[in-house]
Amino acid sequence: MSKIKSKIEEVNRNGKKALSIFLTSGFPTIEKFINNTNRIIDAGADLIELGMPFSDPLADGGVIQQSSQIALQNGITQKQTFLFAEELKKKNVNTPLILMGYANTIIQYGKEQFEQDAINAGVDGLIIPDVPLEEFDSFFSQFSNKLDKILLTTPTSSKERIITLDNKSTGFLYCVSVSGTTGVRSGFDDKIIENLKATYQTVNNNKMLIGFGISKPENIKQLSPFADGFIVGSAIIKSLQNENIDETIELVKSLSEACSTS
């Protein structure tokens, strides 16, 4: 049984939505990363998405792009990201860890070695947004099923396609709220709400987490009838830019609170 799936189920059984927090590996600094992440988990993150920095992150908006650039300047390597995963896992055995990043990082590391090192580090799943359904089978042909491979659905995915994505995805199904890159948005209009509602009804096989544009408790309250959980990235990264971790912790607590009461 997928650790990611059972964690989300466990959180949902307690009457809460799951909260997944995205953090760029090695940002804002390599030294602060572990301590920051531990505190974010303590503040209420149920799952952690560990971003593997890439020079040309197509699916990301300005905030995460910049954090990747800074992490690379900090000298982050894939080996270091695996070390981070290992260290986080030691202290937070029950917090699933998901690596999020781009295809080329995995290819250049060597696919088989990558899977092995990820498993050894305690990683539970992968989200690779530039490996869509069309490339999925051939890209992951050398992989076993030990790591969950989480697929994304978007407002442009047809109903038929959402069903296929739901059948193929393991861990959960990542529902991208809006067409666009990652980043904070002012709000969600009726059309987006209708679409999320329809998607949530279509998804039967997986738990569905909504991401992209989720930045504050109000977003979670508004969308919680149509999701099993939420993913927050850019808003967290943005608060980490200010180098005041307490501010980030307050944000995580308020998001977690919104997940409990909605």
């Binding site: 890439f54 020079s55 040309d56 197509l58 699916a59 908006g61 792009q65 650039q69 690379l72 390597t77 894939q78 781009y102 295809a103 080329n104 990082t105 290819i107 250049q108 590391y109 947004p129 530039d130 490996v131 869509p132 359904l133 069309e134 490339e135 697929l151 994304l152 659905t153 978007t154 407002p155 442009t156 995915s157 047809s158 396609r161 994505l165 991208v176 067409s179 666009g180 890159t181």
Partner: protein, 389 residues
């Protein structure tokens, strides 16, 4: 397999774009054989773009080397000054059939940006062009031309601020606005079906060349040389000759300061396969798979990737790829200006510079065709800087 050139190519893009890529492939497949479309494009190519372009015998350049005969395929004589129009005319007709109300494009040298702004003006469609800030400065005149043509030019300040970053930004715009926007990619790069569509629209270069050279010489050439950045002018002239093994095909990449430095764009010469901007292809990258910051004096070649079909042609050994430095390209630009009265684009000058290596190995009976992909007026700023007269 759909969208692959051997193992290369593919559709490595976010899910948001998949529906648009499927729609584009479908519309293109049903349109390309539609007689109305064929006639409309042919009319535009002839009466708007000025095709066919001449194949010019370069008699003084030929005398200079004293060996084989040199011909120039005059893509510099297309409307707006480069081969880019061949593609943008085709794609604007596709955009019309797709019912898209807005066009976006990336540009390096500005030639594709200008060619896109031009067709958008002609068809009355809103146009936004992404251009790296470094290129905005070195191709100032093309920026003004795009604005004259009514396009919005967005300077891109991420990464190396050149073509690769402009392409990232255009793709991000497309992800955001895919419902009403068509992305006109300027080269044989990106996710399927773009490398195929752009190739098909550029193949007119090679088709004309084949007829013209056979009329002049009664046979196919021995060599065809073209510069390769993304590789659209090269694929365009190579493609109709791929199955003529007697024709040696040569692709010239930008060697920048030299391929023993890190400041070059010799992707096929020194890169290795990986996934970038929607395609599996040769890339310049570090051991971690981070894409390298590259350099060429010519903005149009300043790109760390290459079209996936070129990657296959390299592995099949059907095309020989090598590189030319900034300085060699500048010498070649001056030489062609003085000997033939043609000021070539710095991109095309890379192909011309290869004559220094090739011509001594040819004999009097050999025929060499160079794809003169564009004219050099846009490069005057750089040329004034670099050449002392």
């Amino acid at each position: 397999m759909a969208g692959k050139f051997g193992e290369f190519g593919g559709r490595f893009v976010p899910e948001t774009l998949m529906a648009a890529l499927h729609e584009l492939a479908e519309v293109y497949n049903s349109t390309k054989t539609d007689i109305t479309f064929i006639e409309e494009l042919a009319d535009l190519q002839k009466n708007y773009n000025g095709r066919e372009t001449p194949l010019t015998f370069a008699n003084r350049l030929t005398e200079h080397y004293g060996k084989g005969k040199i011909y120039l395929k005059r893509e510099d004589l297309n409307h707006t000054g480069a081969h880019k129009m061949n593609n943008t005319l085709g794609q604007i007709l596709l955009a019309k059939r797709l019912g898209k109300k807005r066009i976006i494009a990336e540009t390096g040298a500005g030639q594709h940006g200008v060619a896109t702004a031009t067709v958008c003006a002609k068809f009355g469609i809103e146009c936004t062009v992404y251009m790296g800030e470094v290129d905005v400065h070195r191709q100032e005149m093309n920026v003004f031309r795009m604005k004259m043509l009514g396009a919005k030019v967005v300077p891109v300040t991420s990464g190396s601020m050149t073509l690769k970053d402009a392409t990232n930004e255009a793709i991000r715009d497309w992800v955001e606005n895919v419902e009403n926007t068509h992305y006109i990619i300027g080269s044989v790069v990106g996710p399927h079906p773009y490398p195929m569509i752009v190739r098909d629209f550029q193949t007119i270069i090679g088709e004309e060349t084949k007829i013209q050279i056979n009329k002049f010489e009664g046979r196919n050439p021995d060599y065809i040389i073209a510069c390769v950045g993304g590789g659209s002018n090269a694929i365009g002239i190579f493609h109709p000759f791929i199955n003529n093994p007697e024709v040696k095909l040569v692709g010239i990449e930008a060697g920048g300061y030299g391929i023993d430095t890190y400041m070059h764009c010799a992707t096929l010469t020194l890169g290795r396969p990986g996934v970038f901007q929607g395609m599996n292809t040769y890339l310049l990258q570090d051991n971690e798979g981070q894409i390298s910051e590259v350099h060429s004096i010519s903005a149009g070649l300043d790109y760390p990737g290459v079209g996936p079909e070129h990657s296959l042609l390299k592995d099949l050994d059907r095309v020989q790829y090598s590189s030319i430095t900034d300085d060699e390209a500048l010498d070649a630009a001056l030489k062609l200006s003085r000997l033939e009265g043609i000021l070539p684009a710095l991109e095309s000058s890379h192909a011309l510079a290869h004559l220094e290596y090739l011509m001594p190995t040819t004999s009097k009976d050999d025929i060499v065709v160079i794809n003169l992909s564009g004219r050099g007026d846009k490069d005057l700023n750089t040329l004034i800087d670099k050449i002392k007269l």
